[in-house]
């Protein structure tokens, strides 16, 4: 039924399809694939599965380049989460996922359900979650202050209630996120290497019969014979368990791939509502189910709910499925067929079971007070068939929805043209006129203010004008301005935020937010879960391994140069793991970008993938799972490119943890490349960004060789038990790192001669800037340290020591006090 010109009826259907996220071309493609007009339900299903969120239609061609395999990878991309082996027989499953759009609209529930979703992705593989991280990006203004407060509450309340510690992450601010905040959640869980479950419908040994299309079309009433064909005797059954289905989140999946316009307010009711208690029950029942090997395959119902889980499992198994929607436990009796299919009600699972075990699964669910029902069956139609009120609502070939989903190769901007366009990027945050005394950056109305007070900025600009000025020359003038600097949201302590997160539940968090010990990466020991995996073994504390976790990215570098910037940014995560005493093993990514229809954004995506990949390949840190969030833009302005990376590493023994905070009176060394000027620059640092309100390229190419030397030197120092503390030199370069470490411990820092003779630009430069270490006090430490540094072809410059503020003059003491308070209190009012 092809019509030359579009009739009123056709127009109506095309617009309807648009409402479900299908473009005119995609709608035409769907009709073409089916050789008939699709039903409303089919449009809904295709709209959901062809959305960017489910199909990666714009990024797939680029994601294929990722380095994903190493001998320790147990599960690479394509499943709910990636898994690496961290100890003999023990896998670590982890993944990061975005929940950006929902969190902007309804911050509390949006962020909470983001955590819920990623937890399910991990535990549905059979892994018990042991740690959460989150990467957050906010912009400026009052609404962003509101978003900050409520997303943090949402993340905390959900994770705390389920009983998974939230141990770290990264929170940053940039005016480019004002209208598109980012909420990326990461979960890691432990799984027995032989107990990994995947989202499939058939066992390996089930013969897949030849596919025979059902020949059904929507609208036909189901005959008895057809029913037997769709729900064949003896075939594996689809079993639904978890919370009942309601209307919440209908349209959620299509929304998360849409750009925002002014009508966003009307999207509010489509945000899902989380129930952490239901999640906790679901977690326990799922793990018990998998432990008893009662099911064949399992997948959580995430974005696009039942539709995506049903179709994706069918796609992986190469078979068809039939669902009777009326059998789904529902919160209300009047759900329409497409509402069943698109509902994003939280805390639900779909699993495939053999007929013999179905009863056992139902009983297990009953024991845990979790609703469950058999809702469908596996068959060999190769189609995704849904029955509603005994009538066919949807009969789509699975491959149309999966392999044959649209793939786009959007045009890329030429790389050199991109670099030229972005050679200088401006800080567009609102200038702050009033000079704010600490707690600064925060006014009574609680608005996020991202700029330095103008008088402070101008003074600093004069000081930083010349690249010859030494720290000694400028210190006297910079020092009194530091309280303003540390009141900036970029530099404040995040403790007022992280106190919402229970980081110590499960009792294994060695270092994380709000723990007595701190480290460059969050570190969680295996212990409890490890004991559970190796029954009867009572591991002595010192032999227990631990995992190191970090996540984040440096969007400013990536905006200037997506390739080198993302490589630099990713490498820094690895350095933090190395600094904590660990060895990086693998990573996951969560690629947050603007619209793929903009060639510049596509350049960012493509280059960021290559940049991360260069680290993956060279440093052998494979990428085992990932998620893409596109269309993070309002109007024509995309967010800064934010390819968030979560990295996991391992400490063979929990006792090898190196703390980050240097002790009182510790002599601090800067361990770095001999030619640091080659590897770092002041022009794209946090200081330049805030003082001159711009960053300029180029971003230096990564020197992997240096980085490898640094990491192995750290490993040698650790084995020799020379290190007392080690911290990564990160945002704001040496100056920021030293001062914030001092501020956090309540200390002051006394620069030595050598440090004071460094240029300000050197102290504030960012890039491959090495680490700060302090040493154990024991005889021969210094000589052994010097030997290892020498042997590694690095240099270690002693820069000064941590001192008690009381030892200073009253005036200096006063300033340090202000710095401490600015740093620790500036975020507090946002949560009151």
């Amino acid at each position: 039924m092809t019509v030359a010109h579009e009739s009123a009826d056709d127009k109506k259907w095309r617009e309807l399809a648009q409402g479900f996220g299908l473009s005119a071309e995609e709608f035409a493609r769907l009709k073409e694939c089916l050789k008939r007009a699709p039903s409303l339900e089919e449009i809904a299903v295709a709209g959901a599965l062809w959305s960017e969120h489910c199909s990666y239609k714009s990024s797939r061609v680029h994601l294929a380049r990722f380095h994903t395999q190493e001998s320790w990878v147990l599960q690479g991309p394509g499943e709910n989460a990636g898994i690496v082996e961290i100890a003999p027989g023990v896998g670590l499953a982890f993944k990061m996922e975005s929940h950006n759009h929902p969190s902007y609209i309804e911050p509390y529930q949006g962020a909470a359900t983001g955590v819920g979703g990623i937890l399910r992705d991990v535990f549905c593989m059979g892994a018990r979650p042991v740690a959460n991280l989150n990467c957050l990006r906010y912009g400026e203004g009052e609404y962003n202050a509101h978003l900050l407060k409520h997303t943090v509450r949402g993340i905390g309340d959900y994770g705390n209630s389920v009983g998974v510690p939230t141990v770290g992450g990264q929170t940053r601010f940039h005016s480019g996120y004002s209208k598109n905040i980012l909420v990326n959640a990461f979960t890691a869980g432990l799984v027995k290497a032989d107990g990994i479950f995947r989202g499939k419908l058939q066992n390996e040994n089930t013969p897949t019969g030849t596919q025979k299309p059902s020949g059904l079309i929507p609208g036909t009433a189901l005959t008895h014979a057809k029913r037997e064909e769709l729900f064949p005797d003896g075939a594996n059954l689809l079993l639904y368990f978890g919370s009942a289905t309601g209307r919440d989140g209908v349209h959620g999946a299509t929304m998360s791939s849409d750009t925002f316009d002014d009508s966003s307010a009307t999207l509010k009711p489509t945000v899902q509502v989380g129930d952490p208690f239901a999640e906790k029950k679901l977690l326990e029942v799922t793990l018990e189910l998998l432990d008893q090997k009662l099911c064949v395959g399992l997948q959580d119902m995430g974005a696009a709910g039942l539709t995506s889980s049903g179709v994706e499992m069918a796609g992986r198994s190469g078979c068809g499925v039939a669902l009777d929607l009326n059998l789904i436990p529902a919160r209300t009796a009047r759900l329409k067929a497409y509402e069943y299919l698109l509902s994003e009600s939280q805390e639900r699972m779909l699993c495939a079971v053999t007929p013999e075990k179905a009863q056992a699964v139902l009983e297990l669910c009953k024991k845990h007070q979790v609703a469950a029902a058999i809702i469908g069956s596996v068959n060999n139609t190769g189609e995704f068939i849904c029955i509603h009120n005994d009538t066919v609502a949807c009969a789509l070939p699975v491959d149309v929805l999966t392999e044959n989903a649209p793939k786009y190769t959007w045009p890329l901007q030429d790389r050199s043209a991109y670099l030229k366009d972005h050679a200088r990027i401006e800080n567009r945050s609102q200038p702050c006129s009033a000079s704010s005394t600490p707690p600064g950056g925060v006014s009574a109305k609680q608005t996020l203010q991202l700029s330095l007070p103008e008088p402070t900025r101008q003074t600093l600009a004069q000081l930083f004008e010349s690249n010859q000025t030494t720290l000694a020359e400028a210190w006297k003038e910079i020092f009194p301005l530091l309280p303003d600097w540390f009141a900036l949201p970029a530099n404040v302590s995040k403790d007022p935020l992280t106190r919402h997160y229970c980081s110590t539940v499960q009792g294994n968090t060695l270092a994380g937010c709000q723990t007595p010990r701190r480290s460059a990466a969050a570190v969680v020991r295996l212990d409890d879960a490890y004991c559970a995996l190796n029954m009867k073994q009572d591991p002595r504390a010192e032999s227990v391994p631990a995992i190191a976790l970090v996540a984040g990215c440096q969007e400013r570098w990536i905006e200037i140069d997506p390739l080198n910037g993302s490589a630099q940014s990713t490498l820094q995560l690895g350095r933090r793991i190395a600094a904590s005493g660990g060895r990086p093993l693998a990573m996951t990514d969560c690629l947050n970008f603007g619209s793929p229809r903009q060639p510049a954004v596509m350049r960012q995506i493509s280059d960021a993938i290559d940049g991360i990949n260069s680290v993956a390949k060279t440093m052998r840190i494979p990428i085992v799972s990932g998620n893409v969030s596109l269309n993070n833009q309002t109007g024509q302005t995309p967010i800064p490119p934010t390819p968030m990376v979560g990295m996991v590493g391992v400490l063979d023994r929990a006792t090898e943890l190196i703390e980050e905070n240097h002790a009182l009176n510790a002599r601090v060394y800067w361990l770095r490349d001999k030619d640091i000027a080659r590897l770092s620059r002041f022009e794209y640092s946090e200081w330049a960004w805030n003082i001159f309100r711009l960053n300029a390229g180029p971003v230096p190419e990564v020197d992997f060789e240096h980085e490898q030397k640094l990491w192995s030197a750290l490993s040698l120092l650790r084995s020799a038990q020379l290190l007392a503390a080690c911290s990564n030199v990160g945002v704001g370069g040496l100056l920021n790192t030293v001062l914030s470490l001092a501020a956090r411990s309540g200390f002051a820092f006394a620069w030595n001669e050598k440090a004071l003779n460094m240029s300000l630009h050197e102290c504030c430069a960012e890039g491959q800037t090495g680490v700060l270490v302090s040493l154990q006090s024991s005889p021969q430490t210094d000589t052994r340290f010097a030997a290892i540094v020498e042997q590694s072809n690095l240099e270690a410059i002693e820069i000064g020591k941590m001192i008690a503020p009381a030892a200073l003059t009253k005036e200096e003491h006063g300033v340090w006090d202000k710095i401490h308070r600015a740093c620790s209190d500036s975020l507090k009012p946002f949560f009151e």
């Binding site: 309340d157 992280t498 919402h500």
Partner: protein, 245 residues
Amino acid sequence: MTRRTAAIVQFPGTNCDHDTVRWLSRNLELDVQLVRSRDDVERLPPGDTSVIVLPGGFSFGDYLRAGALAARSPLMDWVRLQASRGVAVLGICNGFQILCESGLLPGALAPNIVRQHVHEFVTVHVETQVVSPWSPSIVESGRLLNLPISCGMGNFVAPRKNDAYNILFRYTHNLLGSFESIAGITNPEGNIVGMMPHPERASDPLLGATDGLYMLDALARHLGIVVRTGSPLAIWRSTHKEKNR
């Protein structure tokens, strides 16, 4: 000698159960059992249960009021019976809320005055004159313990007419708004203790916090339970021996 039994009571939504099991079983020669139903109680090893712990978490999702629904579960009747026989009962965090809701301890816990979930290491002052198997009465001078709190409803509201309790712990800084800075109380007999801070999360040198061991030390002394050799508590005892004498 038959081993003594400790029962860890688990409700749907309890999430500090495994930590608590480990806390006790790693340090003390106790047979530690998780109980989630009356059936589990029947299956406990013969002989008297000496210790019952209600661990933290979000029993029944904290619906209605934290601890309210768990307090009305049949399992609590058993706890009540054991408590009346003098068994040492400890409720931590959500366990404290459950003990108050069930009437085993007076008072109730309201939302934190700061209106947010608070996870932080805090300092609590021990009121040493209280006699309880859980009371770290042998604490050296200072009597301050550094323990983590993690709760949204930790603001203790005292009963209006009743003063049938002893204060065991007070916060040095009353972050949550508790009546008289109360962090933990005992019943008049002293065998039932409820507290908001989590001693089980501060009993391991690797975690950088060991003050929770004071409570295990007290329990072991009061009930004559043997400390496991090589355990964190045994090591802790050997280093604290000097001071305690």
